[in-house]
Amino acid sequence: MTDATLTGTRPRTLAEKVWDKHLVAKGEDGTPDLIYIDLHLVHEVTSPQAFDGLRLAGRPVRRPDLTIATEDHNTPTLAIDRPIADPTSRTQIETLRRNCEEFGIRLHSLGDIEQGIVHVVGPQLGLTQPGITVVCGDSHTSTHGAFGAMALGIGTSEVEHVMATQTLPLQPFKTMAITVDGALRPGVTAKDVILAVIAKIGTGGGQGYVLEYRGSAIRDLSMEGRMTICNMSIEAGARAGMVAPDATTYAYLKGRAHAPSGQDWDDAVAYWDTLPTDAGAVFDAEVVLDADTLEPFVTWGTNPGQGVSLSGAVPNPADIGDSNERAAAERALEYMDLTSGTPMKEIRVDTVFLGSCTNSRVEDLRAAAEIVKGHTLADGVRMLVVPGSARVRIEAEAEGLDKIFTDFGAEWRFAGCSMCLGMNPDQLAPGERCASTSNRNFEGRQGKGGRTHLVSPLVAAATAIRGTLSSPWDLIQDGDH
């Protein structure tokens, strides 16, 4: 039974319920609503001027107990005990440390077991919970929506606003249901689902919407898979992505450091159970995808919407009806140095990057390790494996995954954003081509002149073995797996 039938109120979506629950003041005449923020995640890149603004105004951080910081974007993934060489990176990290000290913010620094990508750290600590509002000065905050939280990326002046007031003035949103029914075939993952969604609705298709992912294929996903999907909602232009909490969510949370326990747990679950979208609630838009027909999906272009099934070919811009998109495709093919009609599987890569807040959790590493085990890295290819957090790294090592990767020929690194955006030394050289489990294939994102193909961890692993974009299915056909 839904709470709408109990209370007789209008049926509401998951997103509306979370929003309503956090309304401090309702905006009138087009002024925004004031929304309470349950959890504020902080990292070194977007926080310094916010802290400084507080200092100038003589304001404290209102709720240090709802705020947590970690170092991720600039951290090196090698020799983490040595001073950071790049002065800008070093300054940003040192500034974060000073600010957290001064304002009483809990910080997980390089070397700490909970240090890592901010969107891996929140869930692993059990801080990310159903029905909460989460913000971070980072667009991929949408990741946390996997728990049925309203998770929004914000800018630096908003970071300061949340620090000072624990609220944000926000305009209401529209809702979009993305229903994926059926069952994913073996070798097809959450990453393939979200790449297919973005290819379908476009990089602007989600603008102004909070997406809710529904359907049997979503219900069957692990929390890690749901995080992968919600993570990339932002690549469809959406304000947030969400999945309703269920037994999978509860099982993931139970026993984590900051999850409720005892009576609190029961009270929390009683509330969480009311969150799923009511029967009869109306979405402003609906998209349907058939899980049974999905294949491994990869990008060929320079935005995450420019993707195709791995068994397909580089498209011909002439076939694209929309003139803006046609022009974008032409530019992308030139930048990517690809020719229309080339089968995706013939594309050779120099680098494979397994990491980022999209795919760097222990489940991702496990899945990739299972594929590469007993194989040898393709000639001329380098592979970086970068766990999402120090804890993930330790857990993976306990399972022997590091050994599998290094035996294979890959580099086993320390935790951080790494080659997802190349703010640290992990970068592509100009012209280099990379199969990457990250979320953005923008020009120069992974290093000036670098070329990125977004892929799942399974495709990354198979590609590392064969040297060309490949799926685990190709290995079976090769007869060697």
Partner: protein
């Protein structure tokens, strides 16, 4: 933000129009991690010239900048306002401002008052005839006074109210503090907290 009523301080004549934000603060200074410490960055390129008005001893400690038309156009960088504030300016008077710059000014407590071209000329003449002369800006009456000269300036009612009340975006929200407190008093105790840090080994 402090409440703004009147400011009296040395006026600095900047006889230039189209001073874009790249001139106010060059891009190389944008790497910094603070909102302060930009005083040396203000007009950094022009200050290489020892004759530049900012370098003249009479104008040291100036608080009111009188500039030509189209001040603060170009890049949206908030750093331009931070640099002016940081140097010590509370007021910029100009016949026309870049839109984003004017918006940013209001948020940081910098009064951007619009004057006529003719009044700008009058102000420059008075200031330059007595370098270091003090000028009084009265936000209540929306006037600037220097010597015997009193001229009006234009500022929109909303920005003026916020400056008079000393309200930035955060200050505005904090006017709702009672509602925030009430909301907090009703938050469920099991909602997550980051402090104290807890360790659970699964």
């Amino acid at each position: 933000m402090e409440k703004f009523q009147t400011v009296t301080g040395i006026a600095l004549p900047l006889r230039r129009s189209n001073v874009d934000t790249d001139q106010i603060i060059p891009a190389v200074y944008l790497k910094r991690v603070t909102k302060t410490g930009f005083d040396d960055a203000l007009f950094a390129a022009w200050r290489q010239d020892p004759d530049f008005v900012l370098n003249q001893p009479a104008y040291q400690g100036a608080r009111v900048l009188v500039a030509g038309a189209d001040f603060g156009t170009g890049s949206s960088r908030e750093h331009a306002v931070w640099a002016l504030r940081d140097y010590g300016f509370d007021v910029v008077l100009s016949p026309r401002f870049g839109d984003i710059f004017r918006g940013n000014s209001g948020k940081q407590g910098l009064l951007a008052g619009q004057i006529t071209e003719a009044d700008a000329q009058l102000l420059w003449d008075v200031i330059e005839s007595d370098p270091g002369i003090e000028l009084t800006v009265d936000l209540v009456s929306r006037t600037a006074r220097v010597g015997d000269l009193t001229i009006p300036f234009v500022i929109d009612d909303y920005t003026r109210w916020r400056l008079l009340e000393g309200l930035d975006d955060i200050g505005l929200t904090l006017r709702d503090e009672a509602r925030i407190l009430e909301f907090e008093s009703q938050r469920e105790p099991w909602r997550p907290r980051t402090l104290p840090a807890r360790q659970v080994n699964q």
